[in-house]
């Protein structure tokens, strides 16, 4: 780029800096001197310097790093109220004079020190020889002086309100400072050492030329922004517009955006609707009846114990369960009722059926749909939030989504069940291969597990399905065959979102949400 077009692209701040340095010719200047001469705020100045360096109009002539010591917040407190070693020393010495016995526990209780402060201070004092610990944890003063405590006091006084260069202190004091300086992982120290970086800048050859050009020819009638006024009176014709350096990074924006996991679920929802499924919704709080009994899970089923389901505290029970469903289900559990089943053969507890729980499986939503006179043929789905009594970790969430549904129709049988699962394999997981394995669910027979070869994950279980048992459908008033299906999509979602912890599906980290793209 030639000098002229480069000058055209200079920001007014840059021009100011160039002019100041141009006046000093080749003599390097410190940043604050430039700022003063150009009349710029430190933030404006550092922006301008940054840009000029990037354009190779400016170079760093020298850089001096000076460690500066100052008091940290802890240091200020020590200055006011004495450091732990000073406090301990004075207590122990006082005790010595009055002949009192004092233990470490006493010290800690009296002085209200943190255990870490306490042990550090005791250690240092022992090392100094100023105190000793005798039997029974009793602390005694040795009578020896404590140079460490004195040095510390000197330093606290010297540095109070006045940071100084580290090298201004003699070697022994420097060692004390370094020992008691804030470090990574140990912020509770009285001193902090910060590096003061002092740079001197000087113009490059190109910079000198640019400065000279500006000095001799001026910038002309340059404007940075086209305004309505310029357009109105046509004066833009006489103006020159500053050229931008368009390779700089733009300011950050935050966009309005869908949650990446929700985006994934929206896709699932769209696919299911496109396959002819109607959405069903249900309640987060359910009765044991709809959550389990209606699904022919006997009340003694091992997965119904206190450690598998969340129970509601208040009220504990629903007022009633709709008839005729309660009576029919009760009879089916007891003897099979009119379903052609032998039943579970136990005394069904109608009161327990009313116990309120947090919905533990999406199939509860399907059970309600069966009881509400679904269309035949009909396809239904729900993306239902479910709750399980599980310790929360990288693979277990306390609440999560289940994608579940049912299919009703006269052509429903084991082979159409497999056909539907094949469709899911292709539509939901873009899988070329799939296979079916026998499975067990309390409410279906036959039951199938669908395994697919996912393009990224290899063989994985995509879902489970089966034909609802007549013990489920008949008491709820459905005569014909019904497919019940469920898909486990969270692993696929996690791969698409590039996360490894299931808890991150509900992340509370805004940065993560703003930066996750999602590859569906």
């Amino acid at each position: 780029m030639d000098t002229l077009s480069q000058i055209g692209s200079l920001h007014p701040l840059e021009v100011k800096v160039l002019t100041v340095l141009g006046q000093h010719q080749v003599r390097p200047l410190r940043q604050e001197d430039i700022g003063q001469a150009a009349g710029l705020e430190p933030s404006q100045l550092s922006m301008a310097v940054e840009w000029l360096l990037a354009k190779a109009l400016l170079l760093v002539e020298s850089e001096v790093v000076t460690p500066i010591v100052s008091l940290s917040k802890v240091g200020e407190r020590y200055f006011e109220k004495d450091a732990p070693i000073e406090r301990i020393l004075s207590v122990v010495r006082d005790a010595q004079q009055t002949g009192k016995r004092i233990t470490i526990q006493d010290l800690q209780a009296r002085e209200g020190l943190e255990p870490s402060e306490m042990s550090g201070a005791i250690g240092s004092l022992k090392k100094e020889g100023a105190i000793r610990i005798v039997q029974g944890g009793q602390v005694e003063a040795t009578g020896a002086p404590c140079p460490l405590a004195e040095s510390l006091r000197t330093l606290l006084k010297d540095l109070q309100g006045a940071p100084r260069e580290l090298h201004a202190f003699p070697e022994p004091l420097r060692r004390v400072i370094e020992h008691y300086a804030v470090k990574r992982g140990n912020p509770n120290e009285p001193f902090r050492i910060d590096d003061r970086v002092e740079r001197r800048y000087q113009l490059t050859q190109a910079g000198q030329e640019a400065a000279q050009t500006i000095a001799t020819q001026g910038l002309g009638d340059e404007v940075s922004q086209l305004t309505p006024e310029l357009l109105k009176d046509g004066s833009w014709r006489t103006k020159r517009f500053r050229q931008y350096t368009i390779s700089l990074r733009p300011p950050r924006l935050s966009a309005g955006r869908r949650h990446p996991y929700r985006e994934f679920l929206d896709l699932v929802k769209r696919k299911l609707v496109s396959m002819g499924f109607q959405e069903m919704r249900g309640s987060l709080v359910e009765t044991e009846f709809w959550n389990m009994d209606a699904l022919y899970m006997p009340q003694f089923h091992p997965a119904r114990a206190i450690h598998d389901v969340y129970f509601v505290k208040e009220p504990t029970h629903a007022r009633e369960i709709a008839e005729p469903f309660l009576s029919r289900v009760a009879e089916t559990h007891r003897s099979g009722g009119d379903t052609g089943s032998a039943g579970w053969g136990y005394a069904y507890d109608r009161e327990r059926a009313k116990r309120l729980v947090l919905r533990s499986q999406g199939t509860a939503v399907s059970a309600h749909k069966l009881a509400s006179g679904p269309a035949v043929p009909g396809k239904y789905f729900s993306i239902a939030r479910c709750f399980r009594y599980d310790a929360v970790d990288a693979t277990h969430a306390c609440d999560f989504f289940q994608v579940e549904g049912i299919v009703l129709g006269p052509d429903i049988n084991f082979r159409t069940l497999l056909g539907l699962l094949n469709l899911f394999a292709v539509e939901m997981a873009q899988a070329k291969d799939s296979r079916f394995l026998p499975a067990y669910f309390p409410f279906t027979e036959p039951s199938v597990e669908l395994h697919v070869r996912h393009p990224k994950l290899g063989w994985m279980e995509l879902g489970g399905a089966g034909l609802f048992r007549p013990e489920v459908t008949l008491p709820l008033g459905v005569e014909g065959p019904v497919i019940a299906w469920g898909l486990g999509l969270d692993r696929m979602a996690m791969v698409a979102l590039g996360i490894h912890d299931i808890r991150d599906l509900f992340s509370t980290d805004l940065d993560m949400l703003r930066t996750t793209r999602g590859h569906f």
């Binding site: 309005g256 949650h259 709750f387 497999l418 940065d511």
Partner: protein
């Protein structure tokens, strides 16, 4: 459901030469992969495999098939398929009277009424066999027997026992024996108080002045069921040849089924099983006196059409019969009806559909060609979901980032930090058996979920504009379930100069596009700064809240920026939209 260990070498023995040859295509060495390929027959999943020891772990899914919860059971099911022959268990064929007797004392019907027992002789217990005996005993008693409450099992050295054995009822101080794991005789009361199994299972027989006890004709104690066996008689070791097996419990069918399973397992290892005659002083579903093991299964008649329709395949009667007998069932039948009886170690034929699955598994799921359901249905979303999606789209257009949160939260987050304690808004659905306080309540509004994100994101550059459309639940005495689940939209704006009018603009525009002529009415709500909060009304009904969050709320959440929020009831807006159309 149970995960069991299987030793591959032991498993080869259990399969027997014919089945092993079939399974390994003549290789005669069973690998874990080879075993895995046969596991669909038992709904099993290979969990892991230790190449050094030859141990594999298999998870068995079917909770109604306890007969499969052992190496013997898994091998049996695979062997039947491979050899096409169901094993014969002659001891199920009823004889008038079994040689050995077990007498039940009166009174047990109130505590632990049922018992079944048999003897198994001539099989010298091997190390792998003992491991399986212990494992199956544990799995059956723990999972099938619900932690020994419905079923518990005891195994004993037969030569030490003098018959008849009595299943007795005694006062806890009236008998003493040395329990397994101890060196000295203790009274039953001491065992219940001191023995680890006593404290674990004692509650099952507590609350009576007497406890169950098994002892022989000379008064030797066999065990204190379902707590612990005697150390002298009830500790089976490698090399023992003659065993006595008993099962006690509260459900007769489960007790007998458990004994049947143990009996066939021992018979599969070469033991000669002989029934024991059990005599009750009270009536049971199977009579007052019966030999056990006992085949109590009844044949079931099933129309062939039912099987064909369910499978969607016009199978011939012979194909169905072959599939079922190849899975271990007894089948007889005509052209349109089959009579099916399960083997005596199974009791999972509740309904004809259970037979359908056996046919499918026996033939292999891979042998069924999938067919697409052909009937046309129209897909669609619920009104609430449609309204949610519209609102979400508008919120995104208004520059808000969507978030998703757990619905479970803590009372501290939902009530205390929101300054709602004791107010009319202090009402949430709480969990009775929460695992941790962090996840113990259902959120009653979305704002706390947004604040959770806000509190975690103080380093993320501002402005922050967040929203979520999601489910909430709130107590409602009028509701059937005592609470109602609702869909709500919550939104939050946080930056150095966030204020009421900014969030008001967002609500205003959102409701403009939703065609909802709303108005605001001041509200005194503890979460908001007084005078800077309002109810959002639609035709006089409250549909939401809007306001500047109280600084104390922000402090509690450790949010260091001013934040303004609004919340809207999505279901109400969806209902409104329907009325209009």
């Amino acid at each position: 459901m149970p995960t069991i260990s299987i030793n591959l070498k032991d498993f080869e023995q259990l399969l027997g030469p014919a089945a092993l040859g079939e399974a390994t295509a003549g290789g005669n060495v069973l690998t874990a992969e080879c075993l895995e390929s046969w596991l669909p027959l038992v709904k099993g999943e290979l969990k892991d495999h230790d190449c050094e020891t030859g141990e594999v772990r298999v998870e068995l899914q079917d909770s109604n098939r306890p007969d499969l919860w052992s190496a013997e059971g898994v091998a049996r099911q695979i062997r039947i398929k491979l050899t096409g022959a169901a094993p014969a268990y002659p001891f199920f064929v009823a004889k008038p009277q079994a040689k050995r007797r077990l007498l039940v004392a009166p009174g047990l019907e109130k505590i632990r009424p049922y018992v079944a027992a048999c003897t198994a002789c001539g099989y010298a217990v091997t190390e792998a066999g003992l491991a399986q005996l212990i494992q199956v005993q544990e799995k059956l008693a723990d999972i099938f027997g619900r932690k020994r409450s419905t079923v518990s099992i005891g195994l004993y050295r037969l030569p030490e026992i003098v018959f008849p054995v009595t299943y007795d009822l005694v006062k806890p101080d009236d008998a003493r024996f040395t329990p397994l794991g101890f060196d000295n005789k203790m009274s039953l009361r001491e065992i219940l108080a001191v023995h680890p199994k006593g404290s674990e299972y004692g509650a099952l027989i507590a609350g009576h002045d007497r406890v169950p006890l098994l002892r022989d004709d000379e008064g030797q104690v066999l065990s204190l069921p379902p707590i612990i066996n005697s150390r002298e008689i009830g500790e089976v070791r490698v090399g023992d040849r003659d065993l006595f097996v008993e099962v006690t419990g509260t459900d007769l069918v489960m007790v007998v089924l458990t004994l049947n399973i143990l009996a066939v397992n021992l018979a599969d290892r070469g033991a000669a099983v002989e029934p024991v005659q059990v005599t009750y002083p009270y009536e049971t579903a199977l009579g007052k006196s019966m030999p056990t093991p006992l085949d109590f299964g009844r044949p079931r008649s099933i129309p062939i059409q039912t099987i064909r329709e369910a499978l969607g395949m016009p199978l011939e009667p012979k194909q169905i019969r072959d599939a079922l007998s190849g899975y271990g069932c007894e089948v007889r039948g005509s052209k349109d009806k089959l009579t099916v009886k399960l083997p005596p170690y199974r009791n999972d034929l509740l309904h004809a559909v259970d037979v359908v699955e056996d046919v499918a598994i026996s033939r292999g799921y891979g042998s069924f060609e999938p067919v697409m359901p052909s009937q046309f249905t129209v897909g669609g979303l619920s009104r609430v979901e449609e309204m949610s999606d519209r609102m979400r789209e508008l919120m995104v257009g208004l520059g808000f980032q969507e978030i998703m949160a757990n619905i479970l939260a803590s009372r501290q987050e939902l009530i205390e930090r929101m300054r709602l304690t004791g107010s009319e808004w202090d009402r949430i659905v709480e969990v009775d058996n929460a695992m941790s306080q962090t996840f113990s309540c259902l959120r009653q509004w979305i704002v706390p979920s947004l604040l959770r994100v806000e509190a975690e994101s103080t380093r993320s550059f501002y402005p922050h504009r967040l929203f979520e459309v999601g489910e909430v639940a709130a107590p409602d005495q009028a509701a059937e379930l005592g609470s109602r689940t609702r869909m709500a939209l919550g939104a939050l704006i946080a930056h150095a100069s966030a204020n009421f009018s900014e969030v008001h603009s967002s609500v205003d525009l959102l409701l403009f596009y939703l065609n909802c002529p709303y108005s605001l009415e001041p509200v005194a709500h503890p979460s908001f700064l007084p005078g800077r909060a309002g109810r959002i009304l639609l035709h006089g009904t409250a549909i939401g809240l809007i306001g500047e969050l109280h600084p104390e709320v922000l402090e509690q959440w450790q949010v260091t920026m001013p934040a303004v929020v609004f919340e809207l009831a999505v279901d109400q807006l969806a209902g409104e939209a329907v009325e209009k159309s």
